[in-house]
């Protein structure tokens, strides 16, 4: 089983996000980019599949600051091959990213492609189904469990309310991972550092970043709360008293 996992980096929401002077993009000066958390789950799911049934796991990511760390971390978890797509990916949308991934995936010929179901900065769809379109492969998203048998995969797809649909998907296919079967594992820093010495990141050049298919952003702004909550202040005791008052007013006490 040959598994390809595609990851991208997204803004870290822990940081305060600001808009740059153009008014149509995030200010990258203050941005910290981290692995998309769903992609992290995709890596975990891929490693779990390898541990269960063998195979080779290749992790592919665009060349964005911090990507080496992400790839070496994946290697420390058990990924066999690391591929970085070189090019200028600043401000590149998912359509272009999916097309860039397509070239690499065609070379890898994987049986299964995993990626995060969504990312916090998706504005033109998410990478998984876009890629499935480019490769003319089936796509199923919101996956929280995968099992593999000859040429097929059985996946657990999540619906609202906790309902799960078990679906059979013919391989090769693209799966959008919502949650791996277990939370992503911890990798010790020394293990990542060791990978930096022992493993190599292969490079591929992007073959023209085609952004066609995404929207043009006219304005980007920070969300203002339409109606902002009435803030209760004071000591814990005072706040608790105020809350009890509200509970009474609303008739639950």
């Amino acid at each position: 089983m040959n598994i390809a996992i595609l990851v991208k980096l997204v803004p870290d929401l822990v940081e305060e996000l600001t808009i740059d002077t153009s008014g149509v993009a995030l200010d990258t000066a203050w941005l910290r980019l981290i692995i998309n958390e769903f992609d992290d789950h995709a890596i975990e799911q891929g490693i779990l599949l390898k541990e269960r049934g063998g195979g080779q796991v290749t992790v592919v990511a665009p060349d964005i600051e911090g990507v080496d760390d992400v790839l070496f971390t994946a290697a420390a978890k058990g990924a066999d091959r690391l591929i970085k797509i070189k090019g200028d990916f600043t401000g590149v949308n998912n359509h272009a990213l999916a097309r860039a991934f397509t070239t690499v995936v065609k070379e890898l010929q994987p049986d299964l492609i995993l990626t995060g179901v969504q990312a916090n900065n998706d504005l033109d769809g998410s990478v998984g189904p876009l890629l499935a379109g480019c490769l003319e492969m089936p796509y199923v998203g919101y996956i929280s469990g995968v099992s593999l048998t000859e040429g097929k995969s059985k996946v657990r797809k999540e619906y609202p309310g906790g309902l799960i649909a078990e679906m059979d998907v013919t391989l090769p296919a693209v799966l959008g991972i919502q949650a791996a079967e277990q939370p992503p594992r911890y990798v010790a820093v020394s293990k990542v550092r060791q990978m930096m010495k022992t493993s190599t990141i292969e490079e591929r050049a992007e073959s023209g970043l085609d952004m066609a298919g995404g929207p043009t952003i006219g304005r980007m702004f920070q969300a203002e709360a339409g109606q902002r909550a009435t803030m209760l202040t004071g000591s814990p005791d005072e706040v608790a008293t105020k809350l009890v008052g509200i509970f009474k007013e609303l008739g639950v006490l």
């Binding site: 594992r185 010790a188 820093v189 020394s190 990542v192 550092r193």
Partner: protein, 668 residues
Amino acid sequence: MMTYDVIKSILVLLALLVAGGIFFWRIYQLLWVNLRLGQRSGPFKQWGERIKGVVVYVAGQFRLFRVLIPGTGHFFIFWGFLILSLTILQAIVEGLVSFANPHFLLPLIGSFGPLALLQDLFAVLVMVAVIYAMIVRLIVNPKRYLGSHKSQGVMVLMFIFTIMLSLLVMNGIRINLGQDPLHYWRPVSTAVGKIFSGAAAGTQVVIIEIAYWTHLCVVLIFLTELPEGKHFHVVTSVPAVLLRNLDPHGQLPAATDHNGQVGVNTIEQFRWRQMFDFYTCTECGRCQDVCPAYASGLPLSPKLLMMELRDNLKERGAALRTHASNSTTQATQVRPLVGDVISESVLWACTTCFACDQECPLFIEHISPIVEMRRFLVIEGRVGTELQDALANLGRYGNSFGQSERMRARWTQPIQPPIKDARREPVEYLWFLGDYASYSPTLTDVTVKTAEVFRKAGLDFGILYDAERNAGNDVRRVGEEGLFEMLMEKNSTALSKCTYKAIVTTDPHTYNTLKNEYPANGDEHHPVLHYAELLDQLITAGKLKFSKKLGYKVTYHDPCYLGRYNGVYDAPRRVIEATGCELVEMPRHHDGSFCCGAGGGRIWMPEGEIQERPSESRIHEAVKLDKVTTFVVACPKDVTMFRDAVKTTGNESRIEVKDLIELVHAAL
């Protein structure tokens, strides 16, 4: 036909050869073959200090007196053993040369009166101590013995008693028979002899021989059994104390590396000196008695840990010997060490408070093997989700709160004029806050007050703003050595760009690692001070003057990493007194202080199935003090831990937790 005296010589010789052979064979297996499985230790330097330690801690039995009466009992048994070992020597030689002279006396040892008196008296003291020890083991049965080998202890006590008794009987009858020229020097033996004086001389001779053989056999059986149990410390204690760790307590030994695998997974991955500790454990349980994890009902007992490690070392050593001829892989059939012999929950329970290491009379190190095994768990990714979150946050943001480094100095916003940025201008004191003082919303008030006190004292100080990272003390103790190194590198780089005379820390944990583990600090050029030490200096120098006498009746909790690890006990107490408060000590104070339960990374882990939180035990202890209204701490984590404990024990109306700085601030 051979006479009895000739037969006696032959039998003594044979017994000696058999017992000595067994003894030395066992020693050879345990101390040579098994220890050679271990990793390199040393080099051992400072021999003067080491020998001094043997005098104070072995000859003087210094640490044993921390548990006073049993310690005193042990003192007499120990010295009795030394003094009376000469009589054993006499008995053996006497038996060996019996064919030539059945009444042979060793020169000096057998003929020096004062020595005879000393031996006579010590025999009694030892017997009294043994009876007392027997009562302690069988009737008092303190909790610290829980899990120790009771029958083994009792058996050895009976051995000692028998050896003493048989000696007195032998000596007594010899006096009766007029065979002892030193009989004036042996009042006790004389008294014992009186018991038998009515018997016929022939009967008395037979009794002597029975007593002789009992004496010799018990001594030799004891000798062969010595290496197998807790009494092996008779052999190992001198080297254990001699080769004890003389590095600062706060400096954790570096990780062992086994072809890229960091930490310890199998027993032979320990250093041989650590293995030696496993053998040295006497199962006295003093460590168990002071362990906060054990007291709160968690599965860790430092004593049982040592015993399990010792058993595993013997088992694996034997397995490796058996299979040495074919392959070592078969030896792996022995139960795996980490996760099986020592469960993960045992390893994660430790708060690294140092109470066990300090309490051990023989300087056994419990924390360093625990951390070594934690290192292996971390490398394997076998960490709980909460700890994983904390470590991931520390890796990404440099703090366990998962907040941006830019938020680190948010607490400074109301302070005018702004606190100096130590990265931009030289400062006298570089204030290293630590995560809790910087990020915890409940501690902002205390942190701001610290800054105000520093200002009032006219201190030239600055902070690192967003360049500060968690110093890594507890990251290291959790076993994440790589992350610790990363944090240390980042902090060291930031510090190296600053000009300062000294570092002052809010947090004792930060203090410990900066002082003892960061290479560039803790020397005379860049001293590291805890704020209690700095305040003490400022008060002494007259730079910090108080306008009020607070008049509170307070008690003070010694933080582990300030007190036990670094010996800072007096500075905070002097500061408390300077604020006009009356200090009342809790029963457990100074180096006997009881951990709050948050150290060693425990603050990032779920507390598990516990009976009583250590912090709650501590608050119960404090509220028993008469009229004490304030519980003073000198560690940000303590503020959090003990304020919680005051709430959960329902003592809000009786006692209030205050940071030392709050007292100082109030008294200004």
